[in-house]
């Protein structure tokens, strides 16, 4: 691991300012993603701003009947909160489907949202990767791409977003609250946070330099059933090959795109009376594989149809 300087933040706006002043700084929250990547030399921050003790670990009721999850709430704490379990079960299920109990005890809401892809070649410094080094090329196009994206990828990057939590946040229409280096607060709809790769796969979110996530706000839950289902290589402690979140009439997909994917075409088809399988097919008409992950298109279609049907029963 490269040497770095370290500071412990005590104020969110000051942390954002400090991060903006040092372009090679990173926020350190739970550390479960950043430290992993630092050990491999993929992340090389020269300065760490430890935000783990910022007073952002509360889960609060909002005036309109929703919930505000502080950015430093752990994945375990959110999944165990009685209000989340009763009113936002899709979020509890998505969190509990991710990582392991030990990791969820450290992983935070903010860190989970902006965790980086688990593309094999992003993790291998010996291989070209446009995300690590813009213009270097993408080793996944011709390589092992079983886990890669089938929706929204580009010729520059075919990586998938690994977050389970973010898929549930998509169907809950969550809003991400931040504070910028100028001290200004901002509210970002979850669908606007992550970017598709296009020709700039190294730019992953709409966050500005130094901008710190302070909370995720859940509006009151939509009417109707909620569900989260994840397909993967083993029953637990494994990243997803595809996942589906459902809440009311909203559907989102995980592990199939660099964005947690809101399936608006399927939603529109369902609203128009389509059968579950037809709705899934409507969404996936635009899906494309890279060879190794072609199977994901059918897998996702079946998983979507199953989750939608279970919600209707």
């Amino acid at each position: 691991m490269r040497p770095f300087t370290y500071e412990r933040a005590s104020d969110p706006a000051a942390a954002a300012k400090s991060a903006a002043e040092n372009p090679d700084a990173r926020f350190l929250a739970g550390g479960t993603n950043l430290l992993d990547l630092m050990k491999l030399g993929i992340e090389r921050p020269t300065h760490l701003i430890d935000v783990g003790r910022l007073p952002l670990a509360a889960i609060e009721d909002t005036a309109d009947g929703g919930l505000r999850l502080g950015a430093m709430t752990t994945n375990s704490a959110v999944a165990a909160d009685p209000r989340v379990r009763a009113r936002y079960p899709v979020l509890a299920q998505a969190l509990l489907a991710g990582a392991s109990p030990q990791l969820r005890n450290k992983a935070t809401t903010g860190g989970n949202l902006v965790q980086r892809t688990r593309c094999l070649y992003f993790y291998d410094p010996a291989k070209p990767c446009n995300k690590r080094r813009p213009g270097a090329g993408c080793a996944a196009l011709e390589g092992l791409n079983r886990g890669s994206a089938i929706l929204g990828q580009s010729e520059h990057c075919v990586a998938a977003n690994p977050s389970d939590m973010a898929v549930a946040l998509q169907v809950l229409d969550a809003v991400v609250e931040t504070v910028g280096a100028d001290g200004q607060a901002r509210a970002i709809p979850i669908d606007d946070l992550h970017r598709l790769p296009g020709d700039t796969p190294h730019i992953e979110t709409c966050l500005r330099p130094g901008e710190l996530i302070t909370a995720v706000v859940l509006p009151p839950p939509p009417q109707g059933p909620q569900a989260y289902r994840k397909a993967r290589d083993r029953a637990s402690y494994a990243g997803g090959l595809a996942s589906v979140a459902l809440a009311g009439g909203r559907i989102a997909l995980g592990a199939v795109s660099l964005k947690p994917w809101r399936a608006r075409k399927a939603e529109a088809a369902l609203a128009g009376g389509a059968a579950p399988d037809e709705a899934a097919a409507a969404e996936l008409a635009q899906a494309r594989g890279q060879g190794g992950n072609d199977f994901k298109i059918n897998l996702t279609r079946r998983l979507m149809a199953a989750v939608i049907s279970s919600g209707k029963a």
């Binding site: 550390g31 430290l35 509890a92 509990l96 392991s100 030990q102």
Partner: protein
């Protein structure tokens, strides 16, 4: 905005950890993980390094009573925290019920994963007692009953290369049942 002794622009610093009840302050390279601090600086080698990347659970310890992977945490992140390692769970002659159950059930072969398994199981019992759900919990709003499916799921963060899983399950089931958290005989 350094709030404590660790202010700007330092790459080493004093870090205080309360390990198994004893507070010690060490001058550490700030890159030191909690795992390396325990093994190399506190000479507590019960906690094991398997993968060093959060993928195996061999390094599981309890921090302020909560189980985490010591390999994916910096010691400095835990300045002032209480850390419990396998050495603090029980000692020869004064074993923790889980340690006794692991012996009774023969829940290991090489033993490399065992400290992490036992620390993890201590965390599991506390989480279940506090009502925390898992992926195996059918009704998210009902009280937790530690049946076999629940124990397996809640121990999924600890791999065992020798595959002593059936015996590990039996050992934890024994302790869960005697504490009233289990699924009955």
């Amino acid at each position: 905005m350094g709030q404590n002794l660790l202010t700007d622009a330092i790459q080493r610093g004093p870090v205080t950890l309360v390990v198994n009840g004893e507070a010690r302050t060490l001058d550490l390279d700030l890159r030191t993980t909690l795992l390396d601090a325990l093994r190399e600086h506190f000479a507590l080698t019960g906690t094991k390094k398997g993968c060093d990347h959060g993928q195996c659970g061999a390094c599981t310890v309890l921090v302020n009573g909560v189980r985490i992977n010591a390999c994916l945490s910096l010691a400095v992140m835990h300045d002032g925290d209480e850390v419990t390692t396998i050495e603090g769970i029980g000692r020869p002659g004064a074993l923790h019920p889980l340690q006794t159950a692991f012996l009774d059930r023969d829940a290991f072969q090489c033993g490399y994963c065992t400290p992490g398994q036992i620390c993890s199981a201590v965390g599991l019992l506390a989480e279940a007692a506090a009502g925390a759900p898992s992926q195996a919990t059918g009704d998210l709003t009902a009280p937790i009953v530690l049946d076999d499916a629940e124990i397996r799921e809640r121990m999924s963060g600890n791999l065992c290369r020798c595959s002593a899983y059936p015996q590990i399950l039996e050992a934890i089931r024994d302790v869960a049942q005697s504490s009233g958290a289990g699924a009955g005989a």
